[in-house]
Symmetry: D3
Subunit: 247 residues, 6 copies
């Protein structure tokens, strides 16, 4: 199948890493392509950012369907535009937050999310509530490193990430971890190993991989979200200006 | 105070009625102005519509603050962009759904929302959950009349509206009603009278009035939403094209 | 409109301050009068106190209606007799706790209540649950100063109050504060300023003002609680002795 | 042990039946006495009634403790004054609603309450929420016979009662029944038999018996409600007039 | 009545203490007998242990009914096989966890469970959720002493137990305590006294006694769990080998 | 990978169909083997049946691990022994109920389960609560056909199944369907087509396929349930007799 990953920011430099991350997570028969949205914000760190990128996520979703893709993942832990996109296309659309929270819930009683910044906490809680799994959310803990400094000192970032997971397990009694910082998603195995060395064996979930695999499952099982949930409205034209295609 | 009402659609013909509705609901000392967004959809009936209008709601919110307004109401029962707008302006922003649901909760144990279309039901339930009052939501009942036909036969529309309220009271045991169809908001008193004639005395809330009065209260009490909830991010520039001013 | 504030204690010395507090909070067109109940306890700090004052709150409510008042506020964070009073009068009745909790909920995701004494905690939680907003209640923190010493050292009391708000924000992640100690309600602005000086911007709600403004809103909108919720029973006479008018 | 049953109404003619009902339900070693409150309402059918009787329930509770009683039951499904009474006496106090709802919850997943009047529904739901068992409450169904006509046609009343239980089982899938109409409490066995004849085997709980037996259990186990929950306040005098002793 | 206590382990050396514990807790008219299951595990500390003992608990339940017993208690805080046993016998079956949690809920707003081992926490939370009282569960605190060492230093064990109760009261604001470690159940009175000496008056519940007394209540009231909840299936034969009778 | 499907009944005649069902649902690289438990009941329709099969499910799980399998699915909508098995093996174990409920939740706001018999309803609700998704469960509807007659008249069974799905969508507003009757799991595509012919497009989930695909995902992502949740206890020997291998 052909999985289109929408990069819901205008930071095109992330495309190669995103492609590698999702392709690695995919099954043998899945081809991944990445599309960056045409207009929006460099990153998504607030409701305002989410609002600004969403119209172009919808456009990118329509383009994915026109390109013959079988499924769409939107690569951001806020799942921007995912539910709205289900109204405008007929193929499955899923975000890493919804996918990873449900996967985490099947692995243990309580899971924690490790996010980049403290102010993401409410947004994660709000999503857990929307997805119906809030009773399973043990905590949200954040790295509290400015995004742009995440890669300045990778060793320190990694150490903090391991420390946050440890706190989630020891203090919040988390039994599964969602590594909610896309930029670090490739390190779940390393984090699991570092904790195992300390006798802490806990599943650490890469949300991108969760979204990829769950979409493969949905496609393989021939499922589509109900039109009762996500109605497709005819004729509701929009006066939005067409942004130029990025890149 | 100066209350700016944002019409989050591109249907400028609604402006006069909207102005009258909010001005009528306001206290003596409040001046109401209405601003229609620059680009978007003719009405808001889905998540996709909500997504398409939100960026321009944010722009209109910034404009309202620049115009020296004291508070902002967004005139749609989906409260599009309200929480995101709290991040980009320093003045209070409120939507009719959040305002009327909390007001209804103070009047009785259970309230019902009368919406225009059946597919709004989930969106109303989702909002009640987000606002924390879902345990008070008795039901959502809809007129099931196409929006464009709402005014074709006003008597029939009114009769159906009264019937839905009656069902909410009799079948769902609602003790307060939110009349969640903006176009009919001016008729709350008439609906209350029609029901009283049948011995059913139930408060029927005009969401626009609820938003107006609650914003007046918030301004009078000198309150502002916490920046802990709605952080203002510096420097996150957007690549959005500037839509031409509507009209 | 004419707002009657019922002082649900026999401490008549509070009348002047209560009048000033509510009148200051009211709109220009609102006249406030205060009535102290005829018999009861000097303050309300337990379920027993609440039980002892409630019959006279009901009597005072009937008197308010007979006096031609438009609305009734009961000035105590336990909202004593408020829901029962809705059965015996036809005008709106509201308490500061219900009003301020719903107002707080519209301003942020989580709010905290600052109460005077530790043993009020459960009573506040129980009320949040009854009002349907418990999922928004971040915490209840108390001053733990004996009521009679509250005014002995106002500077110390103020400092402790600011400290409790800070703890609610920093430790419990409250995004709005309800200042649930009536005697200190006039200091919300000062508390907000003190916190702002430390970079903490959080809305601090005076419950008396919230009740006043919400009642003005309910009256202006022509709303009455449903008789389905609060039935008026005919002929259920009471054998209660008539207490002499206090003072 | 000595169990004092407080009749929280001024209807002294109920005393003999109440005594028989509780004494029948008690263990061999329990002596039951009944005390009617000194002032209040003839029956309790609203929040106003509840408010008017509660001060005298507290007085009767203190009298029970002074009389050397070991436990107190308040004989009304609204449990009037029960939690406040725990503050003013040191012996256990329990009401039939709290006792029977918890007992019902141990017998099945979902229970229904059969009440006399439709307007009791919200009061029952509110109590289930306060007691923490609302997720087990399947429904509240009412006889809808005026209280004073309950005994006019006992056969018809019984038939309606059986019918309501049947509806609770068939339509609401109740797995235990609380017969929340004190006047009919003696008929639980007959109701169970009538249903068994139709192949419906469901436990039907007499709330008075539940309160009696649970109080015996609490006394036998040497338990007292925590003073953390129900603080005894020293010196909070009341200006209440002393009502003359009824009868 | 004849109460059969099923010891759901193969540790027959516990029989005498178990008999004494339940007989002491029972009313005068109750005869207690204890039956150890025929095959299983020495203690129950995990879901696997629970799974292994349950078939023999069912067999022991059928034997109890054949022996003419009036009620069955299963003596373990995991209530192993209790709900399944209700399907296979017609007499009441109850476990100490369900009985004590509901009893605790009637005594205060929040209760804590003191368990032996940390890994029991989730199992207790899961049961509170199943029984519908999770909103009343303040915390689960564990002794963290290996079971086999519990009786090595009784004074130290007692001191730790008192300390855990103190923490539950002071830190988690528990208002009732369930002493969820069967081996120590006989010490509830001593624990209450030790805490009272420090000014902490809190009810401490022996789960075995709660189960005994609640079963006596259910039998005295003539109640049986509904066959709607616990259907008895005819003809579903089992291929289980018959384990030899223990001892 | 090698997926072992445990048939948790002694009905060996289902093995071939089970193998076909899971193999069809699996990815290309997955080999499926089926193992029937050694002793138990012919089908699982009650808590008693679940209790009787679980010990042998644990044994079969250990055998699967010894056979070098990578993951285990237990083929029954009650997920018998799944969580206990996670304690005794180190490879992932999942049941169709947990897998399909979480998958359904990602596809829409509310899902319904179609079960075979009415008395499964509570068991499904209890599982949804345990898995944390009860707020998403719209309803449980049952075929109410005796299991042994399911295949007597396949056309009638199919028609009833389609009718139940239609009711779930129309009456309960389900937006996703879990076809909780294993014997009919192969017909999800046919059911979807039959409904689509009537204009009802709703995803119908085969729980076996959901379990298969989710286990493939968990294995591919290198995840294991936390030992904090599912502790492996050393040395807790069991006195269970070894049942002879079935067949």
């Amino acid at each position: 199948m052909h999985l289109r990953v929408i990069n819901p920011t205008v930071t095109t430099s992330w495309e190669a890493d995103t492609l590698a991350l999702f392709q690695d997570a995919a099954s043998a028969g899945t081809t991944v392509t990445v599309a960056t949205i045409a207009a929006g914000t460099p990153s998504i760190e607030s409701r305002r950012d989410e609002a600004l990128v969403t119209p172009c996520v919808l456009r990118a979703a329509r383009q994915a369907e026109a390109d013959g893709c079988d499924a769409i993942a939107v690569d951001c832990m806020l799942d921007p535009g995912v539910h709205a996109a289900r109204e405008v296309v007929g193929i499955p659309v899923l975000g890493p937050c919804e996918a990873s929270m449900h996967l985490a819930a099947t692995l243990g009683h309580r899971f924690s999310v490790i996010s980049v910044a403290e102010h993401h906490r409410d947004l994660m809680i709000e999503q857990a509530r929307r997805f119906g799994v809030e009773s399973k959310l043990a905590s949200v803990r954040s790295l509290d490193i400015p995004v742009l400094e995440l890669e300045d000192d990778p060793d320190r970032t990694f150490a903090i990430m391991v420390q946050r997971v440890r706190e989630a397990v020891e203090l919040d009694r988390a039994q599964a971890i969602v590594l909610g910082c896309t930029g670090l998603a490739g390190q779940t195995a390393a984090v699991q190993r570092a904790l195992a060395a300390d006798g802490i064996r806990v599943p650490v979930i890469d949300p991108s991989a969760a979204a990829t695999r769950l979409l493969e499952t949905i496609v393989a099982m021939g499922l589509r979200s109900s039109r009762r949930t996500y109605s497709r409205r005819a004729g509701a034209t929009s006066s939005w200006p067409e942004p130029a295609v990025a890149g």
